[in-house]
């Protein structure tokens, strides 16, 4: 187990290194730069700024300098947000996004799993049809539509249009974020539970005289939950780091915003910082998923 985790950490290190190299290269290939704007500064000012941030050096040298800093835990300054470091900005935005995202994922699990189970147990009945149709909508409607609709309807009625100043303000962003994962989890559970219900051990469980509740929760659910765990790892990483759309619509100072704006601004250290942060989170979640797998299913061996 410990050996396995160490192995995974080493692999993670290599992955992160590759991600950093590819991102850096792509970033440099994109035309434009951080100092281009409508009111372009004079050539001498631009040259001075570039010299200040080391952008006048050859790309390889810039990359090496950057990576040296990263290894020391220094992600550099933000070019656009003067006076703030990349780490500052990430640690200011992440807790806000993580709070909404965390609640959204919990909601998705708590709602999605029972819905999926009901659909499976009532296969072909009206409950199943309703859940299937609803989950198809949940998967296919993009979040900017759900978020905008919520904003226009409830947001304006209850004056909850921006910020997170009260608990009630969390409701709409959380619902917008939870919509897709709820629908997805419900579908996953329905599919795997239908599969599990045909298994011989389910017949054994019923032949023991166990009640439907015990059969469902003890014997069926644990066997059908693995696909959901697989999905939850990356989903959690993406949701915790925030959604650009939802944060824009509800005016929330989260991290999701920074991903997109850093690219639009060509804020090179910010692009690198946010990308590496998200990658690290995804890799960590995947290791966590593997460990949870092992706990849920004793047949899984690490070696």
């Amino acid at each position: 187990m410990i050996k396995y985790i160490l192995k995974r950490l080493l692999a993670a290190f290599i992955t992160l290194f590759l991600i950093s190299a590819i991102t850096f290269a792509l970033m440099k290939l994109v035309p434009g730069g951080p100092f281009l704007s409508e009111k372009a500064p004079s050539a001498s000012v631009t040259a001075a700024l570039e010299a200040k941030y080391g952008l006048d050096k050859p790309p390889l040298e810039q990359y090496i300098t950057y990576m040296k800093g990263v290894l020391k835990g220094d992600f550099g300054p933000s070019i656009k947000k003067r006076g703030r470091t990349v780490s500052d900005i990430i640690w200011a935005g992440f807790p806000v996004s993580a709070k909404i995202g965390g609640i959204a994922i919990c909601l998705a699990v708590v709602v999605g799993i029972p819905l999926g189970s009901i659909a499976a147990f009532r296969r072909g009945k009206w409950q199943d049809s309703i859940i299937l149709v609803a989950s198809t909508f949940g998967i296919s409607i993009p979040s900017f539509i759900t978020a905008s609709l919520l904003l226009v309807s409830f947001g304006i009625t209850y004056k909850l249009t921006f910020g997170l100043s009260s608990a009630a303000h969390y409701i709409m962003p959380v619902i917008s974020l939870a919509f897709l994962p709820t629908a997805y989890i419900a579908r996953l559970i329905r599919g795997s539970m239908l599969d599990v219900m045909g298994q011989d051990y389910m017949r054994t469980a019923r032949a023991k005289g166990l009640s439907a509740t015990v059969v469902l929760f003890k014997h069926a659910l644990r066997n059908s939950i693995l696909p959901v765990i697989t999905y939850l790892g990356p989903a959690l990483a993406y949701t915790l780091t925030g959604s650009f759309v939802v944060e824009r619509i509800f005016t929330i100072p989260g991290l999701g915003n920074e991903f997109v704006s850093s690219i639009i601004n060509r804020d090179y250290p910010m692009i690198m910082g946010t990308t590496l942060f998200l990658s690290t989170l995804i890799i960590m979640m995947n290791v966590l998923v593997d460990i949870i797998y092992k706990i849920v299913d004793p047949r899984i061996k690490f070696e």
Binding site: D200, T204, A207, K208, G209, L210, D297, P298, R299
Partner: protein, 333 residues
């Protein structure tokens, strides 16, 4: 003679599939005494397992019990509520299945799965249930029971898993054990061990067993009474001796002659029953075996043969046995 322990009367079970009604079990009547071992034989799809599932109320959708009654120790099972049935299952009537490899939940330890049924049906504490589980495991011939308790099904062999299934089935001292092809998925030496174990346990506890199988050798060694099923109906019922030595029905005769014996010569061929099993969606009007029967008569194709008693405990439904004057013909036709 033992009192009427189990009585199945005119039981019919159908599966309502999109293709039409499949009459899996068609008007069967059967009685069984306490402490008896009853064998139900027949080929795949003859309704053996469905009969067993209807006994413990586990007919799955789209199956439905169409008519009939089952009386178990004086209580009609079809009238029992789901809650009453749950008290019966695993407690008074328990069941073991064909494939031990998949019949245990892969995510729980052996101990957990045995204790589960004990704590459900008795007032035993967790600790007492654990002790009982350990003694059950050693009773079914599993070595190092304490260690096995903590193991998962995938760590055990097929034979061991079937022993665990038997331990689960016996946990609450059932009156009736239904064994649905318990040895089909096991290799021959393990088969013999499992059958011997079941036989020993049956004698020690005086419980009744319904053994469902397509293996005539298995019923011959284990069962006192045998019911032969074909296409959802019982074609012949009698003691093992009646069925094997005073065979009445043409289908049973066919089955028996298709079994290899020590007397079969090296180049001798087994004699299979000609034709294919009937299409259960379109059952023939007359005897369901008629299209494959070598002694088929005109009436066989038109009307269902009635039950004819050859002796007190031996009956068969075949027109050949039926005498127009209402008297039964002798068996040596």
């Amino acid at each position: 003679m033992s009192k009427t322990f189990l009585e199945i009367k005119n039981e019919s079970v159908s599966f309502f599939t999109p293709a039409g009604e499949v009459k899996a079990v068609n008007d069967i009547t059967l009685t069984m005494g306490e402490g008896e071992v009853l064998g139900i034989v027949g080929e795949s799809g003859s309704g053996k397992s469905v009969t067993a599932y209807s006994l413990i109320g586990l007919i799955a959708n789209p199956g439905r019990i169409v008519s009939g009654s089952i009386s178990f120790m004086g209580n009609d099972i079809h009238l029992a509520s789901e809650k009453e049935m749950r008290k019966l299952r695993g407690n008074e009537i328990s069941m073991i299945f064909q494939d031990p490899m998949t019949s245990l939940n892969p995510l729980y330890t052996i101990g957990n799965q045995i204790c589960e049924v004990i704590t459900l049906h008795t007032n035993k504490t967790k600790k007492e249930a654990k002790e009982r589980a350990i003694s059950l495991l050693s009773e079914v011939g599993i070595n190092e029971p304490e260690r096995r308790m903590k193991q998962y099904p995938h760590e055990l062999s097929g034979g061991m898993r079937q022993r665990v299934m038997i331990a689960i089935a016996l946990a609450c001292e059932p009156k009736l054990l239904i064994a649905d092809e318990p040895t089909t998925a096991l290799d021959v030496t393990i088969q013999a061990q499992i059958l011997e174990l079941m036989s020993d346990l049956q004698k020690a506890r005086g419980m009744s067993i319904i053994l469902i199988t397509h293996d005539l050798g298995v019923v011959a060694t284990m069962c006192e009474k045998i019911a032969v099923m074909y296409a959802g109906g019982i074609v012949e019922f009698g003691t093992a001796d009646d069925v094997f030595y005073r065979t009445a029905h043409e289908y049973t005769k066919g089955l028996l002659s298709s079994v290899p014996s020590l007397h079969t010569t090296e180049h001798g061929r087994l004699k299979p029953i000609p034709g294919v099993p009937v299409d259960v969606l379109n059952l023939p009007a007359g005897c369901r075996f008629a299209p494959r029967c070598e002694s088929c008569m005109k009436i066989c194709l038109k009307e269902m043969p009635p039950i004819t008693f050859i002796s007190d405990n031996h009956y068969s439904s075949c027109w050949l046995l039926h005498h127009p004057n209402g008297q039964n013909m002798s068996t040596d036709i």
